[in-house]
């Protein structure tokens, strides 16, 4: 079947196409070149004249599945009670809001034009749950980053001075076993240190038991990811999240990685200075400058937006330290299986609160001061900074200076006065938004057939009506196609589909690393190594998700 999208203004940064009027052809779920469609009468045609066409959006950092999200759901029944979602058309019932039910999350993403989301904190021991929840998230392609860096097997390797090759095998084995597409590290070594009652771990501070530093952990993991040819750089949630003055830690983390590729996630939470009467200030300018200067560094922002949300993180050390801020006052911390941990703390960001208002400014300053949109990504670290449903509002803040300044004039006046935001004139273009939310996200993950509209790409396509109010525009796309099928019309799901799981399979010496891992599991773990590894049948056997394996560098 041939489908034609006629006459839309196309934004396809992967091919340098910036608002040109073009036709797009789709056959069997893929975009086909014009010459392949010439002379063939389309079975279906969509008049897209006056409309904007982009690839489906990709959220490269969103907590949509896994143990801590379900802890958040169980912690906050009131979060759902206020946002019931009735069964409607093809959509099943569910609940919103900050930690929505999986079904509702999938529908709402699709209704905003998103066709993929990546869960950034997959604890290997909890990876099955992450995959089960992502499998129950309709409409979206999914994938995960496996968390390492506080697991005892890895820390023992580092502490014993293991060769890089062994680390590489372990990292590759973990990616295979947990069916992930990248590696994340959270408060390197800190989650483990907290189990030994260490309450803080700076970049060059020793873990009190293993006597290794976060700097060493970061270098070793970044090198492994790089040497294995994993497309996505090491995904780093750094030390000292949320601590005033962590700006210096972040700058040192950037230089400490010695030129290796590194992605700094929710960098807003790591860009705080200690200037001013309240010893809390914006480090956005220095952070943005460091990103601009270091082409090996990418970042997503983790913008906060005002309102009630819940923070769910692997960083049990910092979540415990911040539990007094819980709103409502209830929270969870867990030590998990000699593998990692988690902390779930509900939060209400208030526009009249000095710190929250300045956090809002800092995130926007970073967005606007980082020059290269290919190296900065639009996230709220859903739900930690705000639920993903706020993305259209965030896009408007970036694209519309007068709107931004209007909001700025309503927040805590001291914060606004301390911020340089009012003096920044930049407005993101549609082309730049398409880079941040599509082309750049696909490129940083190594998804060759997503995030663009060239021949051969999967036909994940979003069509919007161009409007001055960009929030309205990005809230309600006219059409969303998933793998070539029309799934959303006028902002409403009309067909429910199930997405794919994106993974990689780096090469490694399985026999060598399993000869170490098997006895380790037998001696110290509470399950067998064979039962830890997630097999393909577990993902694919119910007939919904398909595993898509993307090549690593050097793989055919």
């Amino acid at each position: 079947m041939l489908t034609k999208l006629t006459g839309g203004k196309v934004y396809d940064p992967a091919h340098g196409i910036n608002g040109e009027v073009r036709d797009i052809y789709v056959r069997d779920g893929r975009i086909v070149a014009h010459h392949q469609a010439d002379g063939v009468r389309p079975d279906q045609e969509f008049d897209c004249r006056g409309k904007v066409i982009m690839a489906g959006a990709i959220d490269m950092h969103t907590h949509i599945g896994g143990g801590k999200v379900t802890i958040a759901r169980n912690l906050l029944p009131e979060d759902h009670r206020n946002d019931p979602v009735a069964r409607s058309g093809p959509m099943r019932a569910g609940t919103g809001f900050a930690a929505p039910s999986t079904l509702t999350a999938g529908y709402r993403y699709a209704e905003m034009g998103y066709t993929a989301g990546f869960e950034p904190a997959v604890l290997p021991i909890n990876a099955r749950q992450a995959h089960m929840e992502m499998a129950d998230t309709p409409m979206l392609d999914v994938g995960g980053y496996a968390m390492l860096g506080s697991d005892d097997f890895f820390l023992r390797l580092i502490a014993s001075g293991a060769e890089q090759e062994i680390i590489n095998d372990y990292v590759a084995w973990t990616i295979h076993s947990s069916q992930c597409i990248g590696i994340k590290v959270v408060n390197p070594g800190g989650i483990s240190a907290f189990k030994f009652n260490q309450r803080k771990l700076d970049l060059d501070e020793d873990h009190c038991y293993y006597q290794v530093t976060p700097r060493k952990i970061l270098q070793s993991l970044a090198r492994a990811v790089h040497e294995l040819g994993v497309p996505h750089p090491l995904h780093v949630h750094g030390c000292n999240l949320g601590v005033p003055g962590n700006l210096d830690t972040t700058l040192n983390t950037i230089t400490g990685i010695e030129g290796l590729p590194m992605h700094l996630t929710h960098i807003q939470f790591h860009s705080y200075g200690t200037e001013g009467d309240r010893k809390f200030s914006s480090g956005a300018a220095q952070i943005a400058e460091a990103i601009n200067r270091n082409p090996n560094i990418t970042a997503d922002v983790g913008q906060i937006l005002f309102g009630q949300t819940v923070t769910a993180s692997g960083d049990s050390m910092m979540q415990f330290a911040n539990h007094a801020h819980a709103h409502p006052h209830k929270w969870v911390c867990m030590d998990i299986e000699c593998d990692a941990g988690c902390g779930v703390v509900p939060f209400k960001y208030k526009d009249q609160n000095f710190v929250n208002a300045l956090q809002w400014c800092i995130g926007l300053e970073i967005f606007l001061l980082v020059e290269d949109p290919w190296r900065i990504f639009l996230t709220t670290d859903h739900p930690n900074g705000a639920p993903f449903t706020t993305y259209p509002h965030l896009i408007r803040l970036l694209m519309d200076k007068s709107f931004r300044n209007d909001v700025l004039s309503t927040i805590n006046a001291d914060s606004a006065a301390l911020s340089t935001l009012a003096s920044i004139g930049r407005e993101y273009s549609l082309y730049e938004i398409a880079i941040m939310t599509r082309a750049g996200a696909a490129r940083i993950l190594g998804l060759h057939d997503r995030g663009h509209l060239g021949a051969g790409a999967a036909a994940d396509i979003t069509v919007y009506t161009e409007q001055d109010d960009k929030e309205a525009m990005f809230t309600t796309p006219d059409y969303v196609f998933k793998d070539g099928e029309l799934v959303v019309k006028n902002g409403e799901v009309i067909k429910v589909v199930w997405g794919n799981l994106h993974t990689i399979r780096p090469e490694f010496d399985r026999a060598s690393i399993e000869s170490r891992l098997k006895p380790y599991f037998d001696r110290y773990h509470t399950l067998k190594m064979d039962n830890f590894i997630i097999r393909d049948w577990e993902i694919e056997d119910d007939g919904r998700s398909k595993i898509m394996v993307h090549p690593c560098r050097g793989q055919a």
Binding site: T70, R73, A93, G94, A99, Q129, K195, C338, Y524, L527
Partner: protein
Amino acid sequence: MSETQPKVFDNVPSPFCGIASDDLKITVEGLDVRVVANADTVTRPGFEQPITDTVPRIAGQPATLEQAVARAASLVNDAHLPVFSGFGTDVNETRAALSLIDRCRGVFDQARSGAGLRNLLVLSDSGWMTTTLAEVKNRVDVLVVFGADLEAAFPRFFERFIWVEETLFGAGTGQREIIFIGSAPPPSSAATSPDGREPTLIPCVTEALPQVAAALSALAGGQYLQAASVGGVAVAALQAVVDRLKAASYGVITWAAGQLDFDHAELTVQQLCKAVVALNRATRCAGLPLGGQDGDRTASQVAAWISGYPTRVSYARGFPEYDPFHNDAGKLLSSGEADVLVWVSSLSVTPPPVSGVPTVVIGRSGMCFEREPEVFIPVGVPGIDFAGHMYRCDNVVALPLYQLRESDLPRAADVLKAIERALGGS
């Protein structure tokens, strides 16, 4: 090799015990399953329960699967409020049940939710700090067992997690201290260390557990108690427990909510959780809520991510609503509000409660009934008859379950989907 040679399976995970032992050795000969290594009083009957019924019944009469599905669908379709309970099930079966419940505007409640809620209500009221089994195995130096007979429900707890040969951090497990608050452990309990050290016992009657938990929490929080004894327990003894936990590197307080079988036991659990948080001001300490037998945690986890709520969810108004008190299957049946009961239980042969409403049972073969249900569809067991997944008591580890034998029994998930299809459009 002759055809009668039994098949042998190693490292088999058990869906029946909440601690999910996955080191079982099992032999299968025809339909006969035997646990030949590492069995206990929970896993052995779980695996060895023989297949009895293989043919569905309608009102006691043999029927085809199609007829039974059609009859079940018509009962569900005609019901004003169908209530779904049981839920000794795996992940896919729970998914299929929730899809049907959403479609027919039913209520979801597990047979064991009363016990689970003693923890869940604490989680949603104040949160907690908890740990998981491998952390306990490698780190614990002081274990407080509060009001629980662990071995009755988790016979291998001490063997698998406490008196282990070695730990990651070099500390010998011989020095571990076990403190029971409540009843004495049974004679020849595995709580006694391999070198013969008996656990410390602070005897306390069940009725006094709430007061004692409150006193522990107050003492852990640094409060001074004027009373010399609480609930028949000397405050000095409780202070000694708190002092021991304060001096510990990694203390753990454990309880089994299913065994705290008294009104508002959640308040007792909450006091224990408060004590844990207070102890973490200076050292590390964690709670370990034990439970999850017969897939109870599994059903709750799946419900939480699909509906947003962990149990007792009603779809009667077209969207999920959580009411841990009102949406109690037993209450809805006895009040007459529910007019059909669908009992889904593939792991356990526990039959549905006898009630006055038509009952559909999608149940493990071997289930016996006090009153024959309107529809009975015997099904196979995830982890024996087909593959599946289950959650352990700590809500973190999901284990794969494997097919061990070839039976023709249908899967509960397929039966539930067939019922949903028979209901027609949305």
